[in-house]
């Protein structure tokens, strides 16, 4: 792998680790596979792109954070107050967001951001061309990491973790689990949108279809991360997310150096997730079969 390809993979790994932070909150902490992500990722990118076009890249980042939070709140409301199944709630929001995203992007499927000032222009001005994006991304991720690491130790954060773990117990401890889920999904999708916002500015375009498969990609990162660091506590859990995301991108970059067609990447991501989620069960089943055979 060339240095450029390596740096590129690192950049992607870092920027998509924000996405994985988001799904870490919904999938690992709240215990719900939240499919809103495919839509809120694009929503973040769209919001960020529209502000970048008019020369306000930083405002675009904050707009993305807000928009993502709103998307998360809608999914949570569908789930809690309207009683729609968690998976379906996410699908409904994601589907609706497709139209919203097009609306945000002024009805265009693609917003090019070439030669527009973006937040990476600032880092280039300070550090110079070499790997400046990595520094910028590392700074953003460190900030998110520190905030999340603190947040999940507060009373509210602890309540979110407990709600995903045992909802009955939370209600018995006088926690309004509906409110907790709303906060959790808002936070999760807000960070997902942040990821989309940074991707748009980094790749200098926002595209209506850039969100497809994001849920699976982030799950693959979570799973790779949890294999490397067994989730002992929240700090290590968050750290494993970043490491998983970077390794996932390095694997993809390695595959790309071969003659393997890139169009197979999503299939590979799916297979990684399928394998990781099914291996423990298959192993158990095989053990049982073996014991049954010995018993007979």
């Amino acid at each position: 792998m060339s240095i450029t390809a390596f740096i590129g993979a690192m950049e992607l790994g870092l920027v998509y680790s924000l996405l994985a932070f988001g799904t870490f909150i919904s999938f690992r902490i709240l215990n719900v596979a939240d499919l809103t992500v495919d839509g809120s990722f694009v929503l973040g990118a769209a919001a960020s792109a529209m502000f970048t076009v008019v020369g306000m890249p930083v405002a675009g980042i904050f707009a993305a954070l807000m928009a993502g939070a709103i998307a998360g709140i809608i999914t949570a409301l569908l789930q809690t107050k309207m009683g729609i199944q968690p998976i379906l709630s996410g699908i409904l929001t994601m589907t609706g967001l497709y139209s919203i995203n097009l609306m945000v992007m002024d009805g265009k499927a693609n917003i090019p951001l070439l030669n527009k000032t973006n937040i990476f222009t600032y880092s280039e001005n300070i550090i110079g061309t070499a790997a400046h994006k990595i520094f910028m991304l590392a700074a953003v991720i460190s900030a998110v990491f520190i905030i999340l690491n603190w947040f999940f130790r507060t009373q509210l954060g602890l309540s979110i973790r407990a709600t995903g773990d045992n909802e009955d117990m939370c209600r018995a401890s006088s926690i309004d689990t509906d409110f907790i889920k709303i906060v959790g999904f808002a936070l999760s999708n807000s960070i997902v949108a942040l990821s989309g916002a940074l991707v748009a500015q980094m790749q200098q375009s926002a595209d209506i279809s850039m969100g497809s498969g994001m849920v699976v990609i982030s799950f693959a990162s979570l799973i790779i991360g949890s294999v490397i660091i067994k989730n002992k506590n929240i700090t290590l859990g968050l750290l494993s997310v970043v490491i998983g995301s970077v390794i996932y991108r390095l694997i993809i970059a390695l595959i790309l150096t071969t003659s393997f067609p890139p169009s197979y990447l999503k299939l590979i991501s799916s297979l990684v997730v399928v394998t990781a989620l099914s291996v423990p069960n298959l192993k158990k089943r095989m053990d049982t079969n073996k014991k049954q055979r010995v018993g007979a």
Partner: protein, 263 residues
């Protein structure tokens, strides 16, 4: 302290399967009373608890606790002053959170002023010392995930969580029924100790008539959604398990006779 007035709960109303789980039931519990509740399956014991704790709303009647009408208050708000423990030891604690974190969740019931506050050293020490005072040997395992503890230990922690901040009312729903005899005995002993030391108003459902009579200050027997027998004081002290069974049979037969009359 607790006043349940003509509570009624009907399942499958106006259908063939209509079942009156609570039938115009009234119950008055004084402050500091420890009431044990017995009764056959389907007598309405758990429904009574559901209505008091708010996980179910009654179809009629009212629930008044400490002078406040809580008949329609949402479950999670009542939970700040009603502690409830279920039969299933898995239900009362969050398995992936540590002992310390679980207790902190329970402790927060009273200290909700700052939801973005991180538990202080002082609070952590208080919780640890509280746990240590109960001689469960868990104070050295504060950072162990609850899921790694045994059912008995988990139920003990649940009990500590429910009483960490003294509740106005404690509801115990056969909380030792799923444990092995040894763990059940020690959890029951702990229950008795905590309730007596803190003078907590308690209702306890049990299928064990011996412990229903041995523990607490008053025993009621439920049948078909009503209070069939209500005994306390000396009368209760002199009662044997056999007497209770006799009484129970008499109640059952009476209803059976009534049915015959109807038919």
């Amino acid at each position: 302290m607790l006043k349940v007035e003509s509570a009624t709960k009907i399942f499958n109303k106006n259908t063939f399967d209509e079942h009156k789980a609570l039938d115009n039931l009234s119950l008055n519990v004084e402050e500091g009373e420890f009431v044990t509740i017995i009764g056959g399956n389907g007598a309405g014991k758990s429904t009574l608890f559901n209505v008091i704790s708010g996980s179910m709303l009654s179809d009629g009647g009212s629930v008044i606790l400490d002078g406040e009408d809580i008949t329609h208050m949402p479950e999670y708000r009542r939970a700040s002053f009603i502690g409830r423990i279920f039969q299933d030891p898995m239900k009362g604690t969050a398995p992936n959170l540590t002992v310390s974190e679980n207790l902190m969740i329970a402790y927060m019931r009273s200290t909700k002023k700052n939801i973005l506050g991180v538990p202080s050293k002082k609070e952590k020490t208080y919780i640890r010392e509280h746990l240590a005072s109960l001689n469960l040997g868990l104070e050295d395992r504060m950072n162990t995930k609850i899921g790694l503890l045994s059912g008995g230990q988990r139920q003990a922690v649940t009990l500590v969580m429910a009483t960490l901040i003294k509740p106005k009312l404690l509801l115990l729903d056969e909380h030792t029924a799923a444990l092995d005899p040894l763990s059940a005995a020690s959890v029951l002993e702990l229950t008795n100790k905590i309730i007596n030391e803190n003078n907590i108003t308690t209702l306890m459902i049990t299928h064990n008539i011996t412990s229903a009579l041995a523990l607490g200050t008053r025993t009621i027997m439920m049948d078909s959604g009503t209070v069939a027998i209500d005994i306390d004081g000396n009368e209760r002290k002199e009662l044997s398990v056999q007497d209770v069974l006799e009484k129970f049979k008499r109640v059952k037969n009476k209803i059976f006779d009534d049915d015959n009359v109807l038919l």
